[in-house]
Symmetry: C2
Subunit: 498 residues, 2 copies
């Protein structure tokens, strides 16, 4: 049985969640994590970096705050040094020095990863990519963009848009996330359904290993079968195998027509049928298929006063099409909607073709995270599940929580089998957390899902690695880590259990 | 200057090319390659395998021929043993035994790789996937297919077609290549332009390492960010890091409408412009963009009596569209063709929508390899080049060869920057080969291309690895090989220089 008594740790956690009112507690004081035997930063170390980078060596405590604190304020380190290199050469010198001096390093991109992967846990030196934001080359013919890793995703999209292209990834955090961070975490997002994942879209990478060696896999070719495909090892390794310095990206043609539909449905079986219909009728123009349950919409009404533009239904869908011919796309979407209504799969819906209306519909889905900040506490999980089991987990967790939760709600990139499940409670307690985890992960495993669909393991999920992966698989990961980073200086306490 | 005198080795080579009339010479007698210090096969080894596999242990010399000889007959080993496991467990036991006994192993799929990667160079034990051809699961909702590695590509496509899906890869050799071999060599093919590469489409793999350890990365989820993305290390590693036993594949919706156009153009600049127009006008329905030069068409006329259905032009294009609505696709393609003709980019063309006509146009492109067998000798190269340099290499090689070649011709998957360049000569000579190589690879490198776009390094290109890759990159490959296959038993003499 769950104990409702509060432990001393709960006070710390309660403090953590009050991120709007000040700094959160240090991660080391909350979690049972032990600092590994890295050297502590000394003045002569700092002097080396000052000689190398000048005023791009950050030691001011106030300025260091943004590097130490995770965006959701759930992880906080106390690094006394952040470095802002501009070139691959500088990154190489920094890492070589850190490796030789046994100093731990925390790669830092846009700090939008949500699992504490991009901030230090203790006093790791922060290595920020923020000044590595040069566009190196854009080939409009082949759609190949080469840039430094610190470029902000939205900026890249604006640049390639001028050549009639788009970046093949779209995230709610596009205004601040870095392309290098996207690659390091194998970020997914809203349009993976249409444009595929980063393993398919990243043509090349330049990476600096822990010892400062520059690994040049910066191919700009769609086909290049000369030896092992090394770049993929760094995609999704969350900065634990190397620091990504440059990215070559395949950019597809920018669609000329974008339409969105917002639909209401009476049960999840109908949601599944609608997905099948959408793939059939919309085929090549289907670019997003997002689901929200009725509890999500209630949550949005309560926290942000955003209402559904249609009546109340157990499930809602946001379906987007992107294509090259407006009239063809509208015809396909109309046919699809008509067919769904006639078959009584979809109960009601609206459709938008004008940009501001499209954006208005999308905002119902995209502003969900804004509501999070207005909660007592929200336990958030990022799960993949086979479609036939997709909503079972929400039903299961609702039952599991009983009246211990205000509400349990599910939404997500259903087109990619990706479910974001949220458990809203009055207040955080460690017992509550223990009641939810690992139960939710065990159920996910039973339902043949993944406990991290797109956010990665970071710090927060790292201790579940052995649970998520077969042992031979984890052993191979350890072998690779040992080869690429023998001293373990790259992003310690992340991905691997601490 | 090139010497035209023949060396003794030339006689051997001349014999090699007469593959239609008998066995080719042994690779060990032609190339300066030395057998590594593996154990030689003994009776008690064979007995172990007979006990394990029964009559799936092949020792009959006649039967062994097909495993020893490369499809193009350019590489030939003399293995005395081929094994045909049916299960992952059997593969694991075989590899564990081979590793313990220091016996080299050559993984063997459909033997269609063209660079000698799938046949033994000396006496390596052949490990064939041909009996590992079970379909394990097909989820029509999510489009996920899970199967054993020895399934033939065309068979898989027929099976998923029943569920309205298609396999996301299409090759001329689809009737005999295995999906495991496709994955092991990161095969590209005709429709990569539309459906992306295997790194994007393979959801999961099961692989057996050299020591028999089974690595289970057989995820069936599109998003799974729990730890390193190990499967990608095996994609394109050509059987040197492990033996792929199972594959989970993302299958897209099968198009309901396929159209093809065959166009004539007056110069390569217009070919480039047409590609840009095609991406713009055809957008999401563009599924293939193939180029052939006039020498290719002359070659086809001479060898196979296949003529262009339009007049004579310096360049020809085969453009395919695949979509979900016949009338929309036809309208887009008509608009595109009209626009190209009006702008005088394209000089002439025909279009086909009926299946038999579509196939007839495709056969002009797809039967090119059949012509190869009717040549004196053909030096074939599989190159990637940035589009602005795409055809320069053909012009350059034409000049380089002068009257030493009958003709030099270029064709390929231009939509993916992939050029197949062929040099037709009267007769093979080693001097001629030395005159062409490494010159052609040097020029490819100068033009920022890749010396192996889709065929891989296999045996034939392995010695150019150091040329194709930066040294830090090759070092990392060696580190990975050492970790995954410390004794080097997996496909020796392949990928790495011998």
């Amino acid at each position: 049985m769950l104990s409702t008594a509060k432990t001393p740790g709960d006070k710390v956690f309660a403090f953590v969640k009050r991120y709007l009112h000040g700094k959160s507690a240090l991660t080391k004081d909350i979690y049972d994590v032990k600092r590994e035997n890295f050297n502590k930063l000394q003045n002569h170390h700092v002097q080396f970096f000052k000689d190398l980078l000048g005023d791009r060596t950050i030691t001011d405590l106030h300025e260091l705050e943004k590097y130490n604190q995770e965006w959701m304020r759930c992880v906080r380190g106390y690094s006394a040094l952040a470095l802002k290199p501009k070139t691959t050469g500088e990154v190489s010198e920094i890492l070589k020095y850190c490796n030789d001096s046994n100093l731990a390093v925390c790669p830092h991109g846009g700090n939008t990863g949500l699992v504490g992967g991009a901030v230090p846990v203790f006093d790791e030196i922060v290595l920020s990519a923020e000044l590595m934001n040069d566009i190196i080359h854009l080939d409009a013919n082949s759609g190949v963009l080469v840039c430094q890793a610190g470029c902000v995703l939205e900026n890249l999209d604006a640049i390639v848009a001028e050549a009639g292209l788009m970046v093949p990834i779209d995230l709610a955090s596009k205004g601040s996330c870095h392309i290098g961070g996207n690659v390091a975490t194998n970020a997914g997002g809203l349009k993976l359904l249409r444009y595929g994942n980063l393993h398919g879209n990243v043509l090349g990478l330049e990476v600096v290993k822990a010892d400062g060696t520059i690994i040049d896999c910066l191919s700009t070719l769609k086909k290049d079968n000369t030896g092992f495909h090394l770049k993929h090892l760094f995609i999704g390794s969350e900065g634990t195998l190397g620091f990504i310095t440059k990215v070559a990206l395949q950019c597809p043609t920018r669609p000329k027509s974008v339409n969105v539909a917002f639909l209401g449905l009476n049960n999840f079986d109908k949601v599944l049928k609608t997905f099948k219909e959408a793939k059939h009728d919309l085929g090549e123009i289907l670019s997003a298929f997002e689901v929200m349950d009725t509890a999500t919409i209630e949550f949005m009404k309560e926290k942000l006063d955003i209402s559904s533009p249609i009546g109340k239904y157990p499930f809602y869908l946001v379906i987007e099409t992107s294509g090259s011919r407006e009239e063809h796309d509208a015809e396909k979407l109309n046919f699809f909607l008509q067919s769904c209504l006639e078959q009584n799969i979809v109960s009601d819906g609206i459709m938008a073709t004008e940009t501001h209306k499209v954006n208005a519909i999308w905002s119902i889905r995209e502003r969900v995270p804004d509501g999070f900040r207005k909660c007592g506490h929200l336990f958030c999980y990022d799960i993949s599940l086979p479609l036939e089991n997709y909503y079972l987990l929400v039903e299961d967790m609702t039952k599991h929580m009983g009246n211990m939760a205000i509400r349990v709600f599910g939404l997500g990139h259903m087109g990619d089998s990706n479910l974001h499940i949220q458990i809203e409670v009055e207040e955080f307690s460690r017992d509550l957390k223990n009641y939810i985890e690992p139960y939710i992960f065990q159920r996910t495993k039973q339902l043949k899902g993944s406990i991290s669909a797109e956010h990665g393991m970071g710090f927060l999920k790292a201790k579940y690695l052995d649970f998520a992966r077969p042992s031979s698989n984890v052993q191979m990961m350890k072998d690779l880590k040992r080869i690429l980073d023998p001293k373990g200086i790259m992003n310690p306490y992340k991905v691997f259990p601490w």
